[in-house]
Symmetry: C2
Subunit: 880 residues, 2 copies
């Protein structure tokens, strides 16, 4: 027969899935002899069975609960429902994974008109006794019977007014008695039955309410959002009550064994004298720092410090502890692993390794790669004095300054003109996406952490402050008011999405830096990892940043960004406008020294590390003016007076139109350009190799990997392998230096992955271009999809995640796995990496490890994230 | 030791790869006792060895050839190089696959100043003897020694002028002797050596010339174009000469055992009295029909008829025979399987089966699916009187009428306005592609069958007449002249690309019809096939045509074409412009009865067969006016006077802009529309099911397969499966009739193929949309790729074929194979078809058979092609 009920002393920390997190913590503390008020846990299995049977309590369970209750009575010397010495209990839910939305807590269960007399007798405190009783009815009435909290509060308010007091603690016993009467009538009126007097009935109602709360709407939504399985279910903790509100030698508090914000090794927390848990929440009195306890209750403090040390050593991690002191006696009500900021996590992990508590591997494992991204965002300079206007929800991390804009169309327009704008809206909808795209950040006055603005901003990696309700936004007249001040369109503000702050003007920002502890953790991570982390960088500055953050190479250097530079664009346009190969070569000859200079700088910055340079990729029309712009200029010109310019524009216009494509993403781009205009590719190869040769001569070590984009055919790769080698080998031979280089390709088309065995015959390396591979595999044009339907797909749960952020392992990943296996079947030492944005996303990095890539390459700022994720992949693999 | 030389009687018909086609034919005829002048074949292996050794003749080969020559001397009683009774031989190349471009024929080899005396003695005909001698020098000088034919002809012309005769046969022996002297001097002058007198030297030079000709440029190019392996090599046939020019009881001819044009069972061919083979080619005298032989040489004729019957029965196929009659004795010089028109092929196959010569399966196998397409093009009514202006090359089959246009831009413009135009150019280049796209057909005055215009037109399936050199085209003034008449821009002409004709005005056309024999062959094909053939049809008329051509279902009915109809477009636009679901529903309610009517008609036409209806697929902007058109109209309006219309246009313009996408092919289309606007999908499902129910009530059998486009996610399929069933089942239930339907999906995205196992959980059928699957797998937007680089890729041999015409088996095919296996792993009875254009292309059809599809679906006119190809797939599979 299944065992459904566990006395605390019967459980253990590792029984989390059976007893829930809270239950397992209470059990572990009991087991190791810490002062925990006696109680028992009804397992998640019981809840599962209850829900399976259509909300019917198992007979066995009834017996088990009774037996356990008897044991608790024995231990406390009290009796449940007894009018002389009544046992009161708390009933709390507790799932394996901490989860808001479920039924929370009922205290003082077991009270009725008779047992309250027993409490009175034991405490000799009438006010306390009736206060406890009314608290119980209120909580039970609210959470079990579903009566609005406000209705209870209204009754108290009425009495407080009539007796002329302001705060609850001032209410006397007689008044509480009246309140209790009115509460009971309220219950009868609201639910059509008497408030249950029988403690056993109270207990079962409470247990069933916990069970049932597993499936309430808020809990279900939370699970769906956070990918928590629906069949975990919750446990129920039934525990004998202790009271922190029995006088000045009593109290209640919460503490962390180390500072969860900075990671400093110090007990950190708050304490409220003569109070119960919910009083802390009510915020009537301000809690004191925990260190004050040292003076007030030195023995208790000493004991508590010992408990903290014991728990931290026992759990080998920082603990978040709830405790109560009843008449000078310390009781522990909960312990759990403490949540912490990324900075704290890093410091704690390094410190604990140094204290000999955990190993290096454990230290690395403690760092959540998703979380440390916080440390890599631009931040508002903490030293700077700023004027905080308002506080909202920290909905998407990072900080940004810009001009206030209310209209998404205008945001787009200004954004395209290069203006930095902050989109300010009461809330956003899919119709505003183009504005969100264009803005540096988003500020809303309505909506929570899961509102449209919040979700989309996080998706786009932009800061967002949501639900900033103090903002009064007037969309029609385009201003907002806060604290009586008015901010108009184009006024400058700063938002801090990590803290939820709205700041006046442009706040000074600081670039992220790596702390010493962070560097230490990263170096430990590298010792563990098999996957190398490279970076995507197009400039010497980015390359230097990447190297600072620990990149072991450049996985993607895009040459088109160099083409876009202001002084070069006219030459590039000259090349495109050329109508013969000869004309084209004239322009290319001008570009050659510029490109050579670019590569020289990057090779130098990456001295000794490989630099993967991709030949020109985008469709040529991207380098020409837009048709609309040309037409607009044309309209303004006089055909007679401006004859020359008109002729010129018409020529460009003709070329722009000739280059127009229905779907440029699938058009004349990538290596297809080089097949038709091999002289462009040859110029680029020449620039790369000449720069590398020059550096070699100067004593540097340049390692060029030349990457051919958008290859889909074996014969394309064959063609370019030959083209590159012909140009490169001649230059190297003439120079007399020894220079090694590789020729390889992006794998960014399904066909390239499907025929990777053939392509590898001519490619020395592969680099997965997962942005384009995702576009072609899904048939999604990223811009179109995100603007038109992708967020709706996520909202409707057709997609769990945006596949442009988190690699789609089932589809795109399957192609990657095939390509790795096929490619290495014809070239066993094929070097394989990834240079799509997924290369910096932890889940995707782990997948890349699993399928055997050699490296991931991501933006410089994500290099540390990827280094941690790469180490986690090895650790998780070991753990199986 | 390898055997390199085979006497004719040692070979067999099945030794084609060793002896070449000609050699195997001569061997087989010798073996079965037909009168073949004795000779031998030097095998292709000898050629291979010769080329491998860098053009060095093997020692063994020399001995073998001498031995074989001795045997031929024995049989003929003549002696090679003998001055009394000299043996003369012909030397001919002959590869396994007939191949123009290689060295052809040398006759009368063995002649020199001495042996010519022997000929004279034997024939007692001085003119014949010296004519033969000069013919030999001329042929040998040309093909072995590389001297231009014209230079020899110039010498003859000079003599003819000096003796005052017009034709060669009038030249007397004395003059030929002079010619021979001059020929020899010409040779000496041109190549710096004497003409070889030694017959053995002549023979070896000729043999080496044949070997070497395997690698001449024309032959290499031909092999590349026709995918003939380079290592097949050619055999050399050395055969004792017989002479058709020995008087009126001699002659030479070519005949087919049946009419190769119509297939009629009659000996068909031509005969020239007192002539050698090359005289026929020279065209000086007109050959007579072969039946005239009956009167002239009745015994020979009778013998020839018997030979024809013997050969046809022996080879079990129509033969193309070359023969010579020397002084009343019949000699066979070649037999091979006759080339024939598609119509003849069909008739011959059916007749031969009925005559018991071949089986049904062989009859089907004899029909080339690529060739029968000829029978399915529109043709100029053969009964109609037309005025043929000129004849060019039949470069791409089919016929088309239209207005003459010379400028590709103008062709595009007029084409977009719905005009039918014929693009007329001296030649075309990749820059003209947009004009080729827009035109109904192409006419060029320069270029051959492999010119740009010809290749591109064949690729596009449009008629082309190329190299029509009599046309004088004046591009600048936009007219062409032919036979003194002038045709201006916009004059109407007709071109017949199957025959190479240019016709004045609009010629009356006839739609293709199936002959009785064709129907018979197709029914036999169906008996053999495992694959069914369905058709793509959007209208009842197309459906009827498909059924007439033997389609067993509709594999793709596109609903968007219905939306485009003139009277519906405003309602569709109303639906798109709707800003609320309610407004949208009003428009949808208007569309419902129209759509229902469409489906009613198609179901009725396909009574008893499944009809696969695809829900709305294209991006919505395709149904709205183009931005440019709206702007143009706006520019013409007065903001005050036309205020209403201006407002209207601005509204549409806003929507058009909101729907604009960077890459619409990868954007908001297909099932993505139905996810955001489920009411559109629901209306379509309602229309389908209501139409089907109605027909059921009327006693017809409607079988709807509802197809969801552009599915890439399991959850999309799940969503639509539910949506369709909810609407459909309610209608069916209410109607009280029994109606079965299927819900399935296009597989047109790589991700759908990669996750086909999941998708099949919710899909009852798959249909490969290989047009889009090719676009996404290759990363080619079809329009962009074909206009910008695809033809260049084919020209540069980076691609062998256009993957939009011939399915790419290595890439796209691999995905298809995966999808079939994965799909059937979760749903074993999954119905799988293909509805991309590849469904009518023979090689692709065979691939579909191989990977186990249930059906292919193609345009109605290609259904017969696919039926034959499907049968071939089974036959080829059996043959292994």
């Amino acid at each position: 027969m299944a065992k459904y009920v566990y006395l605390f002393e019967e459980g253990r920390a590792d029984m989390k899935y059976l007893l829930g997190g809270k239950g397992a913590g209470l059990a572990e503390m009991s087991r190791i002899g810490l002062p925990v008020p006696p109680g028992f846990t009804i397992s998640t299995e019981a809840c599962k069975e209850y829900l399976k049977r259509g909300k019917e309590i198992l007979k066995e369970l009834e017996g088990d609960v009774m037996a356990a209750l008897r044991k608790v009575e024995e231990k406390t010397g009290k009796k449940f429902g007894d009018k002389e010495n009544p046992l009161l209990v708390s009933v709390r839910s507790g799932a394996a994974i901490s989860m808001p939305g479920m039924m929370d807590t009922i205290l003082n269960l077991g009270l009725n008109d008779e047992t309250v007399q027993g409490v009175l007798k034991n405490t000799d405190d009438e006010r306390f006794s009736y206060d406890s009783y009314r608290r119980f009815i209120q909580m039970f009435g609210n959470v079990v019977m579903g009566i609005s909290h406000d209705k209870f509060e209204a009754i108290i308010e009425r009495y407080k007014e009539s007796v002329g007091v302001k705060y609850d603690p001032e209410v006397d016993a007689a008044t509480w008695k009246e309140v209790i009467k009115d509460y009971k009538e309220l219950v009868k009126k609201e639910v059509g039955r008497e408030f249950p007097d029988d403690p056993m009935e109270q207990l079962w109602m409470a247990i069933e309410a916990v069970f049932a709360s597993w499936n309430n709407e808020r809990a279900k939504v939370y699970r769906k959002i956070n990918n928590i399985p629906d069949d975990l279910c919750t446990a129920v903790n039934v525990q004998s009550m202790v009271f922190g509100n029995m006088g000045d030698d009593s109290g209640t508090g919460v503490a962390f064994t180390r500072n969860p914000s900075t990671g400093e090794k110090e007990i950190y927390g708050e304490f409220l004298v003569n109070a119960q848990g919910e009083d802390v929440v009510a915020g009537i009195r301000t809690p004191e720092p925990i260190k004050n306890l040292k003076d007030k209750l030195p023995q208790v403090y000493e004991q508590f410090v010992n408990v903290c040390n014991t728990l931290e050593k026992h759990y080998r991690d920082v603990q978040d502890i709830e405790f109560t002191v009843e008449r000078g006696k310390l009781y522990l009500l909960q312990t759990r692993t403490a949540k912490r900021t990324a900075a704290a996590a890093v410091k704690i992990a390094v410190d604990m390794e140094r204290e000999g508590i955990i190993t290096k591997e454990e230290a690395v494992k403690r760092i959540d790669p998703d979380q440390i991204e916080q440390l890599l965002h631009r931040q508002i300079d903490p030293e700077a004095k700023v004027n905080v206007l308002a506080k909202g929800l920290p909905a998407s991390p990072g900080a940004a300054s810009g001009k206030v804009v209310f209209n998404p169309d205008e945001a787009k327009e200004l954004g395209e003109q290069g203006e930095r704008v902050i989109l300010v809206r009461p809330e956003t909808s899919p119709d505003d996406i183009h504005g969100l795209f264009a803005a540096m950040g988003v500020l809303t006055s309505r909506g929570g952490m899961t509102s449209h603005a919040a979700v989309v901003a996080r998706g786009m990696g932009k800061p967002c402050v949501a639900g900033c309700e103090v903002l009064k936004i007037d969309l029609e007249n385009e201003f907002f008011e806060v604290e009586g001040r008015k901010f108009n369109k184009l006024d400058i503000i700063t938002i801090d999405g990590s803290k939820g702050l709205v700041i006046e003007g442009e706040a000074p920002m600081i670039e992220p830096k790596l702390s010493d502890e962070f560097r230490t953790i990263l170096s430990w991570a590298d010792e563990i990892s098999r996957l190398e982390v490279w970076a995507n960088a197009d400039t010497p500055e980015d390359a230097a940043k990447a190297r600072e953050f620990g990149a072991k190479g450049i996985g993607l250097c895009r040459t088109e960004h160099m083409f876009m530079q202001e002084e070069r664009l006219p030459v590039v346009q000259e090349m495109i406008m050329a109508s013969t190969e000869k004309e084209r070569k004239v322009a290319l000859d001008k570009l050659l020294p510029m490109q050579r200079g670019d590569f020289y700088g990057i090779f130098k910055a990456m001295n000794g590390y490989p630099v993967t340079i991709r030949l020109l990729d985008p469709p040529l029309h991207e380098f020409l003016p837009k048709e609309r712009e040309l037409l607009e200029e044309l309209n303004k010109l006089d055909p007679e007076k401006d004859r020359d310019r008109v002729g010129e524009i018409n020529k460009v216009l003709a070329k722009v139109r000739a280059l127009q494509e229905a779907n440029p993403m699938l058009g004349f781009r990538g290596c297809r350009l080089g097949v038709l205009y091999p002289e462009i590719s040859k110029m680029q190869v020449r620039a790369i190799i000449e720069a590398a040769v020059q550096l070699k001569k100067e004593g540097y070590d340049a390692i060029p990997d030349i990457m051919i984009p958008v290859v889909g055919l074996k014969k394309e790769m064959e063609y370019f392998d030959k083209l590159v080698r012909e140009v490169a080998d001649e230059i190297i031979k003439e120079s007399g230096v020894k220079l090694e280089y590789k020729v390889g390709t992006m794998i960014e088309l399904p066909r390239a992955a499907l025929t990777a065995d053939e392509i590898a015959e001519h490619a020395e390396f592969f680099s997965f271009g997962t942005n384009d591979l995702t576009q072609t595999t899904f048939g999604y044009s990223r811009d179109d999809a995100e603007a038109k339907f992708l967020f709706a797909y996520i909202e409707k749960h057709l997609l769990d995640e945006n596949p442009f952020e988190v690699l789609d392992q089932r589809g795109v990943g399957k192609l990657m796995k095939m390509a790795v296996e096929l490619g290495r079947s014809t070239r066993h030492d094929l070097q394989i990496g990834i240079c799509g944005e997924h290369g910096g996303e932890p889940k995707s990095v782990k997948f890349c490890h699993t399928i055997g890539l050699n490296y991931v390459s991501c933006s410089p700022y994500r290099v540390p994230v990827a280094r941690i994720a790469a180490a986690h992949a090895v650790i998780e693999e070991k753990e199986g």
